[in-house]
């Protein structure tokens, strides 16, 4: 047998976990680009360094984003990946597919691209990984004809994403799929034509478990919650009593300690006024407990990765907002935020960083939102705070 060209990567075919090397080889059977992708990767494994040049700007007609341009720095060795751009295709909300839709994508991609993909990218897009500049437009045209459109890239709205929500989850406090689908369609302009200081991400999780990790990585996070009492089925609680140690596993792990358990009567009590809706008790007893009936979402702002001023986690802006079609309040809020950010943000400044720079008080005033304690973990400890001119007496100007 001929010696393998990729002895290092071959090592990654071993072991029980599915191997991307196998997939690269499979694609390489059909596509020179994937073959060279594999060979270039082998070189990276050998030299312990990447071999891609800094991206260039490529795209398709009418769109400002959606394509990540990529070129090999060794086209001499790997001509197949001289160009190797990725296309970000907006996934169907919730990542549900018919096999028909999937096969359509595969066929188009086999025709124009490397045959390699990411299902999915970590923003949520279908990532079609590797094609040439020439193929971008025809590939997109065909995808478009079959009902698929570009996702986001650049200083634009990024492809919004949602947890599986009401499609398969009993805890959904609003329709995360419909909300994201609606928002995405409403803001196609913002998604496809970069126009802002930097990127902007929206993610919807339909309950505080936050299965789409919105709080950690969305500029605007919409996290389902409720306002009234946890719904309880006392009979079902009793059933769980056999399987769980309700005192130890539920009551004592409740962060607000607002529950009590009567072991004799097998009765659970919740002081709902003190509950912070963390989901823990519901998570453990889905048959017995459920979110309340007055449902909606908490709106949080500012999440982002470390570039530039350090990572930020989203924080509460609106404790409770009803989330009902056509989602006008949240859309209005988004538009208002974008206007303000667009006007005041520096280049490459995420909205959270801008708020941090100018102060929440300025942001809240601009948004017309009243400050409330639910926005904070704790009030300020430092005495360096500002007064608005209209709040203080005017000093006669000194000569």
């Amino acid at each position: 047998m001929a010696q393998s060209e990729t002895p290092l990567l071959d090592e990654l075919e071993k072991g029980p976990w599915p191997s991307f090397v196998k997939d690269l080889k499979m694609a390489g059977q059909k596509k020179a680009m994937s073959r060279d992708l594999l060979r270039q990767l082998e070189l990276s494994y050998k030299e312990r360094i990447g071999h891609w040049k800094h991206g260039g700007i490529v795209g398709v007609k009418g769109y400002g984003g959606g394509v990540i341009g990529r070129y090999s720095d060794r086209p001499d060795l790997f001509p197949g990946v001289e160009h190797c751009h990725t296309m970000r295709i907006n996934m169907p909300t919730g990542w549900f597919y018919t096999t028909k839709a999937l096969r359509t994508i595969c066929d188009i991609w086999d025709k124009y691209g490397s045959g390699m993909t990411n299902f999915h990218g970590s923003t949520g897009d279908i990532i079609l990984l590797g094609t040439t500049t020439n193929n971008l437009q025809p590939c997109f045209d065909e995808l478009s004809e079959k009902g698929f459109d570009m996702g986001g890239s650049g200083s634009a709205l990024r492809t919004p994403s949602a947890c599986v929500g009401p499609a398969r989850c009993e805890w959904a406090c609003y329709d995360s799929l419909d909300a994201i689908n609606d928002i995405t369609h409403t803001f196609q302009m913002q998604l496809h034509r970069p126009m802002w200081p930097y990127k902007f991400k929206i993610k919807c999780s339909a309950c505080p478990n936050d299965c789409v990790a919105a709080i950690a990585r969305a500029d605007l996070s919409i996290i389902g919650t409720w306002r009234d009492n946890i719904q309880m089925d006392p009979g079902a609680v009793k059933e769980y009593a056999g399987k769980l140690d309700i005192q130890e596993e539920v009551v004592e792990l409740c962060p607000t300690r607002c529950m009590s358990w009567d072991e004799k009567k097998k009765e659970l009590k919740i002081n709902n006024k003190e509950c912070s809706r963390c989901m823990h008790c519901i998570n453990l007893m889905p048959k017995a407990l459920a979110p309340g009936k007055d449902k909606g979402a908490t709106i949080l702002i500012g999440g982002k990765a470390p570039i530039l001023k350090g990572a930020m986690i989203s924080w509460v802006l609106i404790p409770f907002l009803k989330m009902e079609k056509p989602y006008q309040p949240i859309k209005d809020l988004a538009l208002k935020i974008w206007d303000w950010w667009d006007e005041n943000g520096k280049m490459r400044e995420r909205v959270g960083e801008l708020i941090e720079r100018v102060g929440m008080r300025v942001f809240l005033k601009e948004m017309g939102i009243k400050p409330i304690p639910q926005m904070i973990r704790t009030p300020r400890a430092n005495p360096y705070f500002f007064w608005w001119p209209e709040e203080v007496p005017q000093k006669p100007k000194s000569a």
Binding site: I215, F385, E391
Partner: protein, 353 residues
Amino acid sequence: MPTDIGPPDYHTMLPPIIARNYGKWKYHEILQPGVLMHVAQGGDKLYSVRVGGARLVCTDRIREYCDIAEKFCDGYLRFTSRHNVEFLLDKKDNLEPLLQDLKQRGYPVGGTGHSITSIVHTQGWVHCHTPATDASGPVKAVMDELYDHFIAMKLPGKLRIALACCLNMCGAVHFSDISILGIHRLPPSLDNERVPKICEVPTTIAACPTLAIRPDPKTKGVQINEERCMYCGNCYTLCPALPLMDPEGDGISIWVGGKVSNARSGPAFSKLAIPFIPNHPPRWPEVVDAVKNIVECYAKGARKHERMGEWIGRIGWERFFEVTKIPFTDKHIDDFTLSYDTFRSTAQFKYTG
């Protein structure tokens, strides 16, 4: 004159019972509010009687303390780290007569255990050049109102109050269960005729935490970007031509939930509760009411041994603002460097309202 002799040797100041049992104490009990009994390994018993004072005292007052100490304590006494006086007795028989004597003279005995002890405070209008309020006056007014909490031990835990008359925070009031802090609300008024004469411009500029000060080429003085100024007074410390005291601008802010000890929870900064109360001398009634209200809510809501901040930690700040009925404003939301650490980064909170 020799210099640098340093403080007198404290051994010469120790009552014999203490010198004898130095480092050999076994345990203590609080016999009644203001009265501690320390028992030594060998069995000696020391009775300490804690007396509240004004701190701003005259020599005759101190002589009166001496009279008392000579009468009951063989001429020994001490002051505490919070400026109370402690009479140190080695004979239990002297205890009642001492307490009687103190009562007659009108001295409050207390400040031990779960009580409110004296308010650590500063100079105010009595001696400092930057105060946004007086110190001794508000302290007297507040202590008159909280008197019953000094002479009794009926709170869930210790409750420490401190006052500083400006952001310099002499006394480090920012770690108190309740801190009363004088604040300015107007930028310095600028006298560019005097600035170049009496101030060092570069140091003045460097003094500003928010970079609000720039040189003014015209006058060789400075310009102040008033929008960036948060009235800290640090420029004034370096440049007398930038005063920021103002009768309408100045007043008092209230901060809560700080603590110093490591008992149970670690030390913690006080957090803003009330951004501003105007100065209403001589008795600052709104300040007194505000402090009293917070004390009462705490007394009602906290569990045994919970300090103010521990209580708030348990119920949450949103509930604190609800039960105290203190309005929440944009001032409460931090906007100092990396302030966003204080924002609520979780979907967990309680509804209030």
